[in-house]
């Protein structure tokens, strides 16, 4: 009896496998019948507002550049933060013989680069492509990999800060130790501060729940908070904004979304712009330009973003010239 049940179950399971197998086959069969569409595989490591914005604006711009739905077939996969799945996704793109793999964020790009040496890999939102070992020289990619970097201009943020809050003497850096991009930008910030004799202190967190206490520990030790394109801090930005507001301290951040969540100001990235630039690079690759002739691009235009509500709460009057250049946001 036991063996019969086992056999039945084995049969059902293999039938299930076979069905998924057939469905899988039929969907790939459909693609071959349509007259040779360009196949683009998009892989994203996790659901995240900034990364989603990049993907959406990439797709919109790609259509605008003439790669409409009847010409390209987009296969979008999201690993939902699971790096094992990430490998399965990039392997799928390689086995599907995709014409282009678009990899959003560092782990996606690394996984895609490891999976193929022939298919062009176009990344976006990789802050430091050299540290990620994707290439040796940003101006001359030596492999099948190029893309757009979301490196942010540290210097400009501090220059903005010196105008907005000239009384700030010492900065307190907050970042998550597992956020590769954040660590890279913070290191740049440290270099900048060392060079310009700006004193700073730092506190690190390992997840969003630690942010409040970490921020409170900095109160009294410094005059302003500085955090960057840090997904973990960004996800709990209201907490940091609240601590800062109570302590009457400004928070300088890395992205416009963090300003909208209560940060004071940033000179930062508009992720939609990054997506558009990535689409333009995709067009170059698809029309046959060699990868080595497509240098890595950073964002052409950085925007100044200031939160008016936060500025009012801190009693900061925004200088007129900055007010004209900046995009003023309000609390969400």
């Amino acid at each position: 009896m036991k063996t019969i049940i086992k056999k039945v179950l084995a049969l059902v399971l293999s039938a299930m496998l076979a069905i998924t197998f057939l469905v899988g086959c039929s969907s790939s069969a459909n693609t071959t019948t349509a007259n040779k569409k360009i196949k683009i595989g998009i892989v994203q490591i996790v659901e995240h507002p900034s990364l989603n914005t990049i993907r959406e604006s990439f797709l919109t711009e790609l259509t605008a550049l003439g790669y409409t739905n009847d010409k390209v077939e987009i296969d979008y996969q999201n690993a939902q933060g699971d790096q094992a799945t990430l490998n399965s996704i990039t392997q799928k793109f390689v086995s599907d013989k995709s014409d282009l793999i678009v990899a959003i964020a560092t782990p996606s790009a690394q996984s895609a680069a490891a999976a193929t040496n022939n298919i062009p890999v176009l990344f976006s939102a990789v802050t430091d492509p050299i540290a990620a070992n994707l290439m040796a020289d940003l101006t001359k990619p030596d492999k099948n990999v190029t893309g757009t970097s979301d490196a942010i201009p540290v210097q400009q943020v501090f220059e903005l800060a010196s105008k907005l809050t000239p009384n700030v003497k010492k900065y307190g850096f907050i970042y998550c130790t597992s956020e590769v991009s954040a660590v890279s930008v913070i290191n740049d910030a440290k270099k900048y501060c060392d060079k310009n004799n700006i004193p700073y202190t730092e506190v690190t967190i390992t997840n969003a729940s630690e942010l409040q206490q970490a921020a409170q520990s900095l109160v009294g030790q410094c005059d302003a908070f500085y955090t960057t394109i840090d997904n973990v801090v960004a996800s709990a930005m209201p907490v940091l904004a609240d601590v800062a507001k109570k302590a009457k301290m400004p928070v300088y951040v890395g992205a416009d979304s963090m300003v909208a969540d209560g940060g004071l100001a940033t000179v930062g990235i508009e992720y939609s712009g990054l997506g558009k630039q990535t689409a333009a690079m995709a067009k170059k690759i698809l029309s046959g330009t060699a990868i080595s002739d497509i240098p890595v691009e950073t964002l052409n235009n950085f925007g100044i973003f200031i939160n008016e509500d936060t500025a009012t709460a801190l009693g900061i009057t925004i200088p007129k010239d900055i007010k004209e250049a900046a995009q003023l946001l309000k609390n969400k």
Binding site: I5, L17, S27, A84, Q91, S95, N133, V180
Partner: protein
Amino acid sequence: MNFTALQGSVELGIIYGFMALGVFVSFRILNLPDLTVDGSFTLGASCSAVMTLAGHPFLGLLAGVVSGALAGLVTAFLQTKLKIQPILSGILTMTGLYSINLRVMQNRGNLSLLNIPTIFTPFGKSDFAARFAKLLFPLALIAFVIVLMTLFFKTQLGMSIRATGDNEDMVRSSSINSDFTKAVGLAMGNAIVGLSGALIVQYQQFCDISMGIGMVVIAMASLIIGEVIFGTSNMPRHITAVVIGSVIYRIIIALVLRVNISPSDLKLISSVIVAAALSYPVLKEHMAAKKLRKGLSGNAKIN
């Protein structure tokens, strides 16, 4: 699914199969829920990555094994000597390992091994050779580990460890030190998990601090899928089943990626697959009871 994707899934399945084997030792043999795995997997991975960057990929595998074993010993110490609950001991070690892993990775959340010689490099440079190295080397290694485990669990010590999981009181009354057998079991399990991490990092050519998150669940799913499909009638079969389960889990994931579903549903589908596999014993009982009832009523009619 074509050959390349199938092969990729089998490769991943075998490498994650080591991790499932490690969980098998703690969860099935010792009958202890060991959550150290999320940490020891990343520990093995980061040690391997650092050694590979220093030019010693094979020593990296060894480092993965040794560091994993040490992590297991810490959990065992918390459990047996300090009398902390098994689940909590694992969580404590795993949490502490986060900082240690970052230290190992020189405070960088992500290390890249692209273009750095790994254990797969000596097998040749051509695409073909590289592809098969990634399949055959882990396959040979896991066959070796399966044989080794089978032999080990037949020794006096191995038997004692199995007995500890079955009935600790009996083991103690036979004057076997159950603290010792638990320590050996947990060290062994986490050593194999560390090896899994050490292999995957060289396979995927990057190491990320968050790569271990949720690994216990995946390992358990693989374990149970394997048991259900391949059976547990004897030790060699049970051990092999675990590895096969891991391969099947990866094939299922690859198939799910092919079916046109929204990527955001992937986690739900994984959960459903795991829940279905986990509920097998209950379903089995239910079916057996139904059959029995049917049989009885059938007999009643005849009478």
